[in-house]
Structures are given as C-alpha cells and as structure tokens.
Amino acid sequence: MKIRIIPTILTDGLTVVKGEQFDNWRTVGTAEASARLYASKDVDELLLLDVTARSRKTIIDKNLLIHFSRVLDVPFSVGGGISTLEDAKMCFRNGAEKVVLGTSAILNPRLITEIAKVFGNQAVIVSVDFKKDDSNDVRIESGKMACNIDSFDFIEKLESLGAGEVLLQSIQRDGTLTSMDFGRIAKVSTLTKLPVIASGGASSVEDFLQAVQNGASAVSAGALFQFTEVTPKKVQNFLNSNGIHTRVSG
C-alpha cells in the first residue's frame, strides 16, 4: 500500500489553531483558506479536527464541512465531538470520507460498531492519544482527563469493534516539532492489523521515513506543514528516493 501524507488542520470551530501538547491554542488563520491551500497542492488526504468541540458541548461545524467539501477534491476525515450515529451521518452527508472518534470511542466503544455497521469499517478512525512517551497513560477530553483503560488491550480490540484505522497521537509531542515517538508507533503497529496513522511531533522528512519504517501506514502533521519549508510533496519525494511508494498524481 502506498504511504499517505496527511496534513492536519486543527480548528476551534471558526479558525485554524495551533497548539502545543493539546493546549495553548492560538489562531493562525481560517480553516477554509487552509483547505484551499492544500487543495491546490493536490495533497493525499486531509484531517480536520475541532479540538474544542467537546468542551463546547457541540460537534464539528456543518458549514465548515460544506465549505471543505466544496473546495476539496481529495478525501478528508473529520473529528471533534462526534458522539452519536447521527453526528457521524451529518459528517458523511457533508462530504467527509471518514470520522475520527476519540473520547466517545473510549467511553462508548459500541459507537465504533454502530457507525461501522452503517458506513463500513473504513469510515471509522479511532484516535488514541498517549500522554507521554514512556507511559501507557491514554487521555480523553483533548488530553485533559485520564481514563481507566488498558490502552494496548483497547487497540487490539479496535478491529473487531469495527474500526478501520488507528490515529496514534502523542500529546507530549503535539505541535512541538521535536520528532516522533517511534517506539510507540512500532508497538502499536504490531498490536493491530489496522492501518496506523502516526501523529505528533513530525519535524523533518526523515521523521516520516522512520515512522513508516516502524510500521505506520500514514503520517500526519500540522505545524510542520504550516510553519516550515517542508511540504507534503517534499516528504513524498524523500520517501520515494528511499524506496517507499507514495501517490502518483495524475
């Protein structure tokens, strides 16, 4: 399978935000402008996450999705406060290819099954957010709350629950451009047969290669693509030169 490079757009419902370690959000632009920019660059796929939806007791904004689907002719996945089948349905109807479940999947794993039954396994990404490199502390509510689950047991069960992909996030490394938690990527990739999207801390093209060598099927990055010279295209070229296949644009 070809490796996917997935720019992440974080939003607070209105604007694009940039945070560090799932906190200290600051506005860095509009979500639409970001979508337009990535669309013009013919990226593989986009990940749109509303990082404050749950705390605002709402879900990702429908109008934002409509704008995204008007601009994008590549797939996008959305997350942020999706906690019922109806929420997921709204996302799919407005152009999303997949939904990302985080807190809601951990608190209510049956939701994964429920959505997968109607929309298929491939439509459900489950996000597992690890607090720190050296502990198995998985967090919910945007990293703010500990949860009493055995993370490895949970990841092993995801396929049978109906998930299609695992989004592996490192809270410690989020937005820091300090390289990725390769040990965790390797561990999680052996725990599940599902494609693993590695996220958090990507700081260079080499990080993408190393994530892939450790088992990731896709690598996502936000800050790197927004604030540095590194582009998804540069990452693809670097991977290709190392014998890793990525998308061939038409």
Binding site: M1, D44, E45, R70, L72, D73, G164, S217, V248, G250
Partner: protein, 211 residues
Amino acid sequence: MLVSIIDLGINNLTSVQRAFSLPLKTNDKLTVIESDLKLNRPDLLILPGLGSFGAGMTALKERNLVDRIKIWSSQGTKVVGICLGMQLLASQSQESIGVDGLSLIDSSIERLKNYQKERVPHTGWAEANCQIASPPFPSLHSPGDFYFVHSYHLIPSSAEYTLTKTPFGSTTFVSSVLQKNILGVQFHPEKSGSKGKTLISEIIQWVRDED
C-alpha cells in the same frame, strides 16, 4: 442530458454532486433521486457509495428503486456505481450474506484478504491499470493514482468485464468493470484530485457520445 444521482441517505452526496456537475453544459440537468416519485429516465445514473452492502440494498429497497434501476438500465441508461455503488451492481456479497444485489454485472463480492504488509481496509492511493486496448475512457491509460477506501472487492464472472486492475500485495483485484452500459469503479473519482476529474469528464463524454 439528464444526470441523476441516487441519494441513499448514507453516501457522500456533496462531493459526488459537485464532481459530476463540473463537466456539465448549460442545457444539461443534474438531479438527486430520493424516492421513486415523479422520475424521468436519466441518461446517466450515478449510484454513489459509502457503507455496507446490506445497508445499501436496504436503502434502495426502501426507496423502491431496485426495479427502477433495472428497468432504466435495460432501456439504455448508463449506470455508474462508485465504491459501494459498484458492489451493489453485483449479485451478492460476503459482507451481507443472503442479501440480493442488483445483479447488473454478473459478479460477486468478496472480502480482501490480509496480505503481507497490506492492511484491510485498503485505504489510500493506488494505480488502476487498464486491461483493454481502447476504453471509452482514454485517461485510464495515463499514469496517476485513484483514491480507494474499501474492504471488499468485486469478482466478475467473466474476465471480459474487467476494465482495470489494481495491485494489492503480491496479487491484484479488479478495480473497475464495464459491461455494456454499466460501469463500476471501486475507487472514488470524486475524491481523486485531477485524475478523477478527468475520468468524470470522460464518463460524461461517454454518455454524450451516444445521445
């Protein structure tokens, strides 16, 4: 030309609608079909997809569209099934045993097997290699990947319906089929960037050519 898109209530309607409206001319019309009421036979019928085989067939039955689609296709309407929509063109699927498909393409649906290094669902970009010399869609002979998201694939009863094949591990699967006026694509042209855009305009041209 009349283009109609079936709304199953579970599909990614917005993207498909947008993608197929782009190559249309001013006199062309694009409609969304939600039930079997007050319908004109379209020149092109799009059956988009997302979801499971069983849920898709249930949605078609609830809308009384199963026979309608069969009648239209026998009258010459060109039918394009996308992703799950392609799979619904088959007779049956391992995903929902006991559920009858539309049987518009003599085929069945099986689950992709986990091959070494290949993970299911098959998610992402892959090539679709054209198996026939002069397809109605010339761009299929040019390089460029399409976007796939699926766990099942179609097995045609006869190799002559195979339009493209896509590598998967050490093997391949049939990624599009063409049987007279029925086209099925496993990938999502509406999500495949400029490559998909070109194919969609060629599909519209394919319909226009025979009007």
